[in-house]
Structure formats: C-alpha cells, structure tokens
Amino acid sequence: MAEIITKATRVSFGEALSELADTNPNIIVLDADLAAATNTAIFKKAHPERFFDCGIAEANMVGVAAGLATAGKIPVAASFAMFATGRAFEQIRNSVAYPNLNVKIAGSHAGISTGEDGATHQCLEDIGIMRTIPGMVVLNPADHWEMKAATKAALEYQGPVYIRLGRLAVDSFNDPETYKFELGKGITLREGADITVIATGLCVLESLKAVDELRKEGKSVRLINIHTIKPIDRELVIKAAKETGRIITVEEHNVIGGLGDAVCEVTSSECPVPVRRIGVYDQFGYSGPAKELLDIFGLTAPNIKKVILEELDKK
C-alpha cells in the first residue's frame, strides 16, 4: 500500500503547475487576487516573471488569457470555482471556447467543502456550467496523485480545459507507482457485479470506504472514479450499466448538471438503468466546518453505504 498523502488538491495543483513550468516556458499563470488560496502562489514563487495578478477582475483575467493563447502561450487562469466559472462564464464561452483557445481555467474552493465561507463561495454549479460549453474538457481530480497527473494532462492537451480544485485536505488513495491518468478515461477501482458506484472528486475516497465495507459484508459493488466529466467515458458507463444494471453517482455538486446528469445522458440513450444521484439536491449550502457539511449533505461514506444498500434491495 502506498504512503497516504493528506493534501488539498489545490496544493497539489500549485505544485504541479510550478514543476511543469520548469521545463515548459510557455506556461503563464494568471490569478485574481487569490494566489495564496488557489495555490498558484507556489508557481509565483518559482516563476515570478510568468505570473500575473489580474486583481479582483475575473472577466478581464479570462480575456487576457485568451489573448495570451492567441500568441502561443499556455495560460492558466485561476480563481475560486464560483468566480472563475460564474462571473467569467461568458468570457470563457465566447473568448476562450468559441475560438478554441488553449486556455486552462482552474476553479478552487469548489463544492460544499469550502466550508465556513458559506453559500456565496460554495460553488455547486461549476461542472454543469462548464459542461454545457462546446469543446470544453471538464476535470475533477480526486487526490494528490490524480491532481498532479491531471494538471500535466490538461497542460499537454491543446484546447480549453476546466479543472476543479478542492479546498479541503484529503487523503490520497492512488498508488503513484501504478496510477495512470488518461484524459477521458474512467478508472475502475473495484470490480463488482450487482451495482456500480460512479464517483468524482473528493467523493471518490468516501465511496471507496463505503464500497470496501460492503465488500467485506459480501456485497459485489463496482466502483468507478470519473476524473474527466467531459468528455465522459461512455464505454465504461455503458459497460457498468449493462453488467450491473443499477448505478449510483456521487458528487459534491448540484445533482442538476453534474456527474449524475452526465451519466444519465449516456445511460438513457444507450442502456437505460435506474440511476440514483447522490449530490446536493438543488439547494444552497451554508457556513460550517467542511467535514460536518459533507456529513450533513450525505456525501460521506455512511450515507453512501446506506444508499448502496437501499438500491441493492431494489434489485
């Protein structure tokens, strides 16, 4: 078993950016007065000449990134998920995605686990918003190792990418010796025949805990980690639907527009099976410690286990 690294994916992201820039002079990082929080400050320290603080002006930041990309740069524009994808949505759509420019948007402090800052900062819509834009790749890595690999893949990919970063420190569960990231490919973490859990982001580890407990109890539960929500791994989803007949999705996002919907879009046309979506049920969050909120909103192992059992009973 690999060593467990407890680290927020935003930190892993900042480290990866900085390391990748050591050998790629075209990487430019923009932030909107949140470098210390998004962890682009790590890049700033190592590569100050390629870091530009745009001030609290996300719309302009994304436009500047688009302009840099037209000249062959690989700009990464970072802010909180709420402001990057919300405030600057239309700049991302019209100035980045429509001309298919090579801009990477990084949204930190995504989801309910932003915690004490409360509803205005707990972005539960970013995946949905970004997913509706033609050509946009949407990534939501789950742990330290996956974030490092995803950041590398995002920067090597030619075209617009949205990458979701978390505030809360999370335990790693991947083994760097064997872990392989492939853009657009889901990862089957546990094989199983009776039901499939498809999770993303920090919900993957919680789902893993729930699934492993159930496996000990003799249940045959499959677990898939979807780090690339768009383009989603259709083949893997269809296979799971066909082979297990029932799916549960788990995400730290509004159930409208996120991973659950992305899975349903595939199953409804290719292999209709019941899909139960665990997420935030079309409501705003509120202030509180991240871990408590995750429990309250049912995004941790106990509730995931409970829902799996409920769904298994329906078979």
């Binding site: 430019i28 390629r50 530009f52 745009c54 001030g55 002006a57 719309a59 302009n60 930041m61 994304v62 436009g63 500047v64 990134a65 688009a66 302009g67 840099l68 990309a69 037209t70 000249a71 062959g72 740069k73 700009p75 239309e90 700049q91 019209n94 100035s95 429509y98 001309p99 298919n100």
Partner: protein, 279 residues
C-alpha cells in the same frame, strides 16, 4: 500626409463603406451605422499603420487587431478583402448559412481576424493579453483594438484599462469609436459614458481626442501612440452612418440593413463620392 496617400485612403474607405452596405444588404441584417463610423480608422490601420501580410495571416510577428465592437465587422471585412485576405465576393454571403463571414468576427474561419469577438467588452481584454504576450516574448509588434463608445458601459472595459495601465502595456492602442449613438438612443441618454478621455487617463493611459474621419488626425494620433511610454487611448469623434446621408446620426441604422430601394440610394451616393475621389 501627402495628398496622394490621403486620396488613396479616402478611396479605399469609400470602397469599404460600399462593402459594408453590400454585405448587410445581402445579409438582410447587420450593423451598418457603426461600420460606417469606424471605416476610416479600419482603412488607415490596414493600409498605413499595421505591419501585416495578407499572404501570411498567422505571421507570428505581425501587428494584431481586435475588433472589440465586433458587430461592426461588415466594413472590417471589406477592408480585409481590399487588403487581399480574401475575395470581395465573400461579402455577398455575409451571415449566410455556411459562409466564411460570420455575423461577428470568427478567428477560426476568417483570414485576417486575430480574435473572435462580438460580446461587448471582451475584445479589449484579449488585446491586453496579446500585448502582454509581445512583452513576454520581447517582440515589438503592436496591438490595436477598436471599441464602441456604448461598449464602454461594460465593466470589463475598465477592468482591462486598469490592467493595461497597471502593467504599462505601451504596445497597446485602444481606439474608441465615439459616434454618440447606441441601440436605445444617444450614449448620453442611455449610459452616461462620457467623458471618456479623462476616464482612460485616470486608468493610466495617455489619451487624445481626434476627428475619426480626418486621416491627418488619425495618423498623428497613432504616431503619438507609438511614441508614448504608456498604453494609449484614441477617442475618435465620428458620425454614425458616415457617408450615407440618410443613415448619418440616425440611431435607427445601428442594426438594420437597407431594403432594395435604400440600397440603391446608398450605393449611388457612395459611387458618386468614389467617382469624385477618383477624378
């Protein structure tokens, strides 16, 4: 500027105006008013000012142009056609299904378009990014962008102006086409955007106010921009619909094409102007 150069520019600008009328007539839609007010500036930029090569539109060291007021592309398209980026006949399929010339500029499909634009306020930010890229690469190309005065009601314009001033993008020239009219009325009635010169100055740009239909003043302003050690804003006073008598200063011609009869009258006026210039 010598008289023959000025005459050449006036002839080209008149043809650009014709192109804008032809394009919008065939499209049965589009924005002739602002296309006509900015036509002289577009003509000067592409025929006297910018270091570009129509046979190599992606040339890495070229000067860049961003039409932040993207809806005024009909006359820009005409100027690009005159410059040799594509065939003049393309203007007749403006806004048609499958056409190269989209209703707003599309950098992926149209040679000579350096940035897709059309959503107001966004082009000027992209121009800032281009100017920053030139600095990072230690290249001496310059970046030009044309905004509308109504467009300056967008907050992003001022975010971009602050960025340009803060990072001292002295290779950036921001040109505001002040024709005084927007869809819902005069800029004074609708948004209260003036005074623009002191606003841009406050954000750290050098500023000059000129007559945007006077090629001597355009040349002088663009030369000042090159000499300035700050980003530069040219506030150009223009007449919306310039060159077609029934469109001049008429708010209704912001976003409406001529019908067959109006088309004939407009083209006759412009042909008469052209004949006089060529005489």
């Amino acid at each position: 500027m010598n008289q023959s150069d000025k005459r050449m520019l006036e002839i080209l600008a008149c043809k650009a105006r014709m192109g804008a009328i032809i394009g919008t007539f065939h499209a049965k839609s589009g924005h002739p008013g602002g296309s006509l007010s900015a036509a002289d500036m577009f003509t000067y930029l592409y025929f006297k000012e910018m270091n570009v090569d129509p046979s190599n539109p992606q040339w890495a060291d070229r000067d860049r142009f961003v039409l932040s007021k993207g809806h005024c592309c009909p006359s820009l398209y005409a100027v690009l056609a005159l410059k040799g980026y594509f065939d003049w006949k393309e203007l007749e399929s403006l806004r048609h299904v499958g056409a190269m010339l989209q209703g707003h500029p599309d950098m992926k499909g149209t040679p000579g378009i350096d940035m897709s634009s059309g959503s107001l306020g966004q082009g000027v930010s992209a121009a800032c990014g281009m100017a920053l890229a030139a600095k990072l690469d230690q290249k001496d190309y310059r970046v030009y962008t044309v905004l509308g005065d109504g467009e300056c009601e967008e907050g992003e314009v001022w975010e971009a102006a602050m960025f340009a001033g803060h990072h001292n993008l002295d290779n950036l020239t921001v040109i505001v086409d002040c024709n005084g009219l927007q869809i819902d009325g005069t800029t004074e009635e609708v948004g209260g955007v003036e005074p623009l010169d002191t606003k841009f100055e406050a954000f750290g740009l050098d500023t000059v106010i000129i007559d945007g239909h006077d090629f001597d003043q355009i040349e002088d302003a663009l030369n000042q921009a090159k000499k300035s050690d700050k980003p530069f804003a040219i506030i150009m006073k223009t007449v919306k619909g310039k060159g077609v008598s029934f469109m001049e200063n008429q708010v209704g011609w912001h976003g409406k094409a001529t019908n067959a009869e109006e088309f004939k009258i407009a083209m006759a006026e412009l042909e008469k102007q052209l004949a006089e210039l060529e005489a």
